[in-house]
Structures are given as structure tokens and as C-alpha cells.
């Protein structure tokens, strides 16, 4: 029983990385911009966050640096895509490739660095509950913050005026422009916030989850986060669910190995990716459903004045 409590705890932790990045990408996509550069942003922020903690010893400063780097990179992406109208997919890919290269390059000095031992967190009283304590309440504060973020984002998007404006820009930028909203600035702001969140996810990875730096350590989580936004039909609460599901599948493959499940380890390693494909197929098969939920201007460039 104890094992399952701990498995749930690991799942929450693993899923948090995906959730934070995916929420950021959701904000991007809600406003109509598809940023394929998630992986590159996460790598650079992971390095930046790690370097900041090595230099100052302060985790939160590390998170802040990660967010800053993510926002900056997203800003560059945003200017190219929103003002110069470059192809969103290609620009995002360029960001991923560049981000992977520059983080590996700048990070060579940090491969042998190590951080001070990580603090073990536990909520008072709740953390001591039998089974539920270890399962749910002994997580890093960011895990709880992520849940709050998802809830907060959902409320903001669907209950506030600016949330409505954002969604409007995503659905029909021409109308928003006609109404007098600065579509391009709003898109840039959203892209940068989205980038900041991807940056936070990257920093969490290198500062809390695996407190080390090594090149390529994001290992595809950025891509899974992208898939998650589609999986969640662009709704924040479902993003959370999907993230924990995928985090769970990742941990499950090792769990199966150690409990002697008779499947080759490579088949188990494939599980998260196969699950993603399956879900994508199921979610997308109803074109009506997709059309209702997907922001209509996703991936299309916007030209004010036609």
C-alpha cells in the first residue's frame, strides 16, 4: 500500500513539470499562437534556473531566472511571428534547435555543479495523515501552486473581461482589431507569459525534480506538454488531469520494471508516447468537437489592415 502512496507522490511531482509548461502553452494557443519552441525554452530556463541557484543558493531566485529567460526567448519568437509574420511552426522549431544548442553550449561549465541538499516539504498536520499524507501532502510548494494556477487561469479566462478579450483575439483577431484592441500587443504579452511558464517548468526540473544540469535533460517533456494542450481541448483543468496522467505513465514504467512485470523495458518506455498518440487520435476524431474548442486563429498569421 505504501508503494502506491509513494507512486502517487512521484506522479504528482512528475506531472507538475508537464502541467506548468502546458498551462503556458495553453495561454499561447488560446490567443492563436502555436509555439513549438517549448522544448528549447525549457532547456534554456532549466540552465538559467540551475545557474542562479548555484550562484545564490536561493531556489525562488532560480525559478524567477527561469521565468525571465523563458519570457525573453518567447519574446524573440513573438516578435518574429507576430510582427514579421514568419511561419509559426518553423520559427518554433528554430527556437527549439537553438535553445537546445545554446543551453548545451553555455551549460558545459555547470555539468559538474551540484546544489545544496533539497529540503523535504510537508504540509503541517495534513502531511502526517496516514497514506494520504505521503501520497498528497508532502510535495514541493510549486506542486500546490500549479493546481492553484490551473484554477486561477480557468477563472481568469472564463470569468474576467481580459480573459474574454484574450479568447476573442484567439478566435477572431480581425474582429478584436476592429473593436480597437491592440491584437499584436496582446498576442505578444500572452506569448511572453506562456514563455515564462515554460521557463518555470524548466527551472523546476533542474532545481527541484532532478537537481542537476545536463544537456538535453528536458528529454521531450516540452513536446508532451504541447500534446497535452490538445489532449485537454484547451481547458486548464483538463490540462492538469492530463499532466498527472502522463506523469503517472512515466513513473509506471519504472514501477512495472521493479515489480517484475514481464514486458521488455523498451515497451514500457514507449507507453507515455503511445498513450499520447492514442489520446490525440481519440480527441481529434470529432472535427466538430475540435472546431468548437480549438482557437480558430491558431497557427494563422494576423495582418492588421488585411
Amino acid at each position: 500500500m505504501e508503494t502506491y502512496a509513494l507512486l502517487i507522490a512521484s506522479t504528482l511531482s512528475a506531472g507538475t513539470v508537464l502541467a506548468i509548461a502546458s498551462l503556458g502553452l495553453l495561454i499561447n494557443e488560446k490567443v492563436g499562437v502555436l509555439n513549438l519552441g517549448a522544448e528549447g525554452m525549457m532547456l534554456c530556463s532549466a540552465l538559467a534556473g540551475f545557474a542562479a541557484v548555484v550562484a545564490t543558493g536561493n531556489d525562488w531566485l532560480g525559478f524567477a531566472m527561469g521565468m525571465l529567460v523563458g519570457a525573453l526567448l518567447a519574446g524573440v519568437f513573438g516578435i518574429l511571428v507576430i510582427w514579421l509574420n514568419t511561419n509559426q511552426y518553423a520559427t518554433g522549431l528554430a527556437l527549439t534547435l537553438f535553445g537546445a544548442g545554446i543551453s548545451a553550449f553555455a551549460g558545459t561549465a555547470y555539468v559538474k555543479e551540484t546544489l545544496a541538499p533539497r529540503v523535504q516539504f510537508a504540509l503541517p498536520w495534513l502531511g502526517d495523515l496516514p497514506w494520504f499524507g505521503p501520497a498528497l501532502f508532502r510535495q514541493h510548494p510549486l506542486v500546490y501552486l500549479t493546481v492553484a494556477m490551473a484554477v486561477g487561469l480557468a477563472l481568469w479566462l472564463y470569468r474576467t473581461r481580459w480573459g474574454l478579450v484574450l479568447r476573442c483575439v484567439g478566435e477572431n483577431p480581425a474582429s478584436a482589431h476592429a473593436l480597437g484592441y491592440r491584437v499584436r500587443l496582446i498576442r505578444l504579452a500572452a506569448v511572453m507569459v506562456g514563455g515564462a511558464l515554460c521557463g518555470l517548468a524548466g527551472a523546476y526540473l533542474s532545481v527541484v525534480y532532478t537537481p542537476l544540469w545536463v544537456e538535453g535533460m528536458v528529454a521531450g517533456k516540452g513536446w508532451i506538454a504541447l500534446a497535452l494542450t490538445t489532449f485537454a481541448t484547451w481547458r486548464p483543468a483538463r490540462v492538469l488531469l492530463g499532466a498527472y496522467l502522463f506523469g503517472g505513465v512515466t513513473m509506471l514504467q519504472f514501477h512495472f520494471q521493479s515489480t517484475g512485470v514481464e514486458l521488455p523495458s523498451q515497451v514500457l518506455s514507449m507507453l507515455p508516447y503511445l498513450a499520447t498518440i492514442l489520446v490525440l487520435a481519440l480527441i481529434s476524431r470529432n472535427p466538430q468537437w475540435i472546431r468548437i474548442n480549438m482557437p480558430a486563429s491558431l497557427g494563422k498569421p494576423f495582418h492588421p489592415g488585411g
Binding site: G101, M270, L280, S284
Partner: protein, 351 residues
């Protein structure tokens, strides 16, 4: 304030000049980077641009590296022109290598001389098979091909891992995860002694010609491109969007599979877990920098190979890390995308 003013039509001059300008910007940033790192920038440029072409052997190695990049890019250009975003060429490359290895391993030393051809064709089939999964899911379920093809890359790598540690592991290999080395008769023939250049280079050039014909002289090629540029017009003209998706993905899958087969039955000579070398992703850059045009991609594949080889040599000669290559490649693509604005827009200085 710099203002962008739309041109009436796409500038022909900038169609050619944009990649050159992008390269110039990348080189400039590279020089700045070298200086910031305390390295002699001229020596840096020499390592990246002169050493890889300095001798016959070096040129051969350049071709060896450029061949898979070019072949994959040829296929990708069909996809990208059709607005089908096949990011999973790496996975199709791996499956091509796997299928090719299957044929090569199954042959004994007495096999006929047509064996290499069979090996290569098997690779093509493998790549097409893998791409068809993406095509099917996009066609039938409307699943986003970017994400599906990418997830399939990871799956392909695991399949490779399973085969080399399990059923295809060399029984005389001390349990190391790799297949037997292929018998010489199964290998793709080399062109010159003393160099690793093989028939793949010729196939690549043939591919360039074929692609040119396909894109600019056939109906299907035309339909596929219109589908990418103006989907509504394509529908109006009766071009099947579904057919375009299948054609684009199968062609790029075939190309990636061919590249995989040539690598594994060529320079590598066996199936190892290290077959996925990132060519599927680098080919994306090759395709873009080459303007998705067959002839352009010949140049861009050579250019990117220079970056790769130069990056390797920069380590032992300049003490720089290998990741510099990736930085330059990413920078090149960024600059290219930015410079491409000049195709459709004029830059004006306004007070």
C-alpha cells in the same frame, strides 16, 4: 522607426539572397562568439568553412554527411510545401534502418549481387510504413501530424532498442546491444577507394532531379503544392486534400527510410542503438535554408554538413564544445526566417 511595407509581389532577388544574408548574419554572430570566447575568429572560420573541404578525403566525408541530410530534406520539402508538418522524419529514418537491417541480416554471404538493392528498398518500405501511421491518423482521426509524427520518433527509438538488445542482438557480440556487422555483400557499394562516399550520393542527386520533375512538371506535384498554399482554391479545383496528405507523408517517409537504409548499409555497417543521429531534425533546417527547392537544398545540405564537421574539428583544434554546431544551425534558421520577411515586405525608414 523601421516600417514594413508590403511589396506587390514576392521579390525574386531576395528569394536567392535571403539565405545568403542569413548565412552572413550567422557567420557574423559566430565571429563575435569566437572573440567573446577568446578564440581567433579567422581560425574559427577556417575550421568551419575551409578544413571540411580541404582535401579529397575531407570532401568525401562532407558528402557522406550531406547525403542523408539531402535525401531526407527532399522528402520533407514535399511535405512542407503541402503544409503537412512532418516533424517525425527521424523516426521514419530509424524504421528505414531497421527494415534495411532486417534484409541485410537475413542474407548469408552467398547472396546475390542484387542484395544491396533489396536492402535499400526495404528501407524505403520501412520509412513509408512509419509515415503511413501518421498519415492514417491525420486522415482518419484528424490528429495533428506534428505531434503524432514526433511521438512516433520516440516509439521508433524504443523499437530499435528492443531489437538490438533482444532478437537481433549479435550472438557473438558478448551481449552488447548491436546486431552482427553486415556481410560485405549486403553493403551499399562505395564509389571511390579511400573514401566512404557511396552510391547514396548518386541516389541523392538523382532524387534532386526527380523531385524537380515531380514538383514542377507533374499534376500531383502541382496539386500537392496548391493544397499547401491555398487550400480553398485546391478544393475548388478538385484536388483531394486527403490524397495530398498521403502523397506528402509517404514520399517523405520513403526518403527518410532510404536515408536510414543507406546509413546503416553504408558507413555504419550494422544496426546499433546509435543510429538515430538527429538527421531527421537537421534535415528540417536543410529544407528551409534550401528554400524547399531541390537545387537550393543541395547547397544547404553541404552547408549544414560543414557546420557538423567543423564543429567536430573545432573541439580538437580550438577547444570549443560540440554543441556549438547546434547553436549555429539554430541561428541560421532564425536568421533565415527573419530575412525571409524581406521576400514579401520592404523595409522603409520612416521618421
Amino acid at each position: 522607426m523601421l516600417r514594413l511595407e508590403a511589396r506587390g509581389q514576392v521579390s525574386r532577388f531576395w528569394t536567392f539572397a535571403s539565405p545568403v544574408l542569413a548565412l552572413a548574419i550567422t557567420v557574423l554572430i559566430g565571429v563575435a562568439l569566437f572573440m567573446a570566447l577568446g578564440k581567433n575568429p579567422v581560425r574559427g572560420l577556417e575550421v568551419f568553412f575551409w578544413l571540411p573541404i580541404r582535401s579529397g578525403y575531407a570532401l568525401g566525408e562532407l558528402l557522406v554527411k550531406a547525403t542523408p541530410l539531402l535525401i531526407i530534406a527532399l522528402g520533407l520539402s514535399v511535405c512542407f510545401r503541402a503544409n503537412v508538418w512532418n516533424i517525425g522524419a527521424e523516426g521514419q529514418y530509424v524504421l528505414g534502418a531497421i527494415f534495411a537491417s532486417g534484409v541485410a541480416l537475413g542474407a548469408g554471404p552467398q547472396s546475390q549481387s542484387w542484395l544491396p538493392a533489396a536492402v535499400v528498398l526495404a528501407g524505403v518500405a520501412g520509412g513509408m510504413l512509419w509515415a503511413s501511421i501518421t498519415a492514417f491518423l491525420r486522415d482518419r482521426f484528424n490528429a495533428n501530424e506534428i505531434l503524432v509524427s514526433l511521438m512516433l520518433v520516440y516509439v521508433a527509438i524504443q523499437v530499435l532498442g528492443y531489437l538490438v538488445t533482444g532478437p537481433w542482438k549479435d550472438p557473438l557480440g558478448y551481449n552488447f546491444p548491436q546486431s552482427k556487422t553486415f556481410d560485405a555483400v549486403a553493403l551499399v557499394p562505395r564509389l571511390f577507394t579511400g573514401s566512404r562516399v557511396n552510391v547514396g550520393a548518386i541516389l541523392a542527386l538523382l532524387g534532386v532531379a526527380l523531385l524537380w520533375v515531380f514538383l514542377f512538371r507533374t499534376g500531383t506535384g502541382f496539386a500537392v503544392q496548391v493544397g499547401g498554399l491555398a487550400p480553398k482554391a485546391a478544393r475548388f479545383a478538385g484536388f483531394s486534400a486527403r490524397r495530398s496528405i498521403w502523397v506528402a507523408l509517404l514520399v517523405s517517409g520513403a526518403c527518410a527510410g532510404l536515408a536510414g537504409a543507406l546509413e546503416v548499409a553504408g558507413p555504419i555497417g550494422q544496426l546499433t542503438p546509435y543510429v538515430p543521429a538527429g538527421y531527421g531534425f537537421a534535415a528540417i533546417i536543410v529544407a528551409f535554408v534550401g528554400r524547399l527547392h531541390p537545387v537550393g537544398m543541395v547547397f544547404s545540405s553541404l552547408l549544414l554538413s560543414m557546420f557538423y564537421i567543423g564543429g567536430e574539428m573545432a573541439q580538437s583544434r580550438l577547444g570549443l564544445t560540440r554543441s556549438l554546431t547546434d547553436v549555429f544551425q539554430g541561428l541560421l534558421l532564425f536568421s533565415l526566417l527573419a530575412c525571409d520577411t524581406l521576400l514579401a515586405y520592404r523595409v522603409r525608414w520612416r521618421r
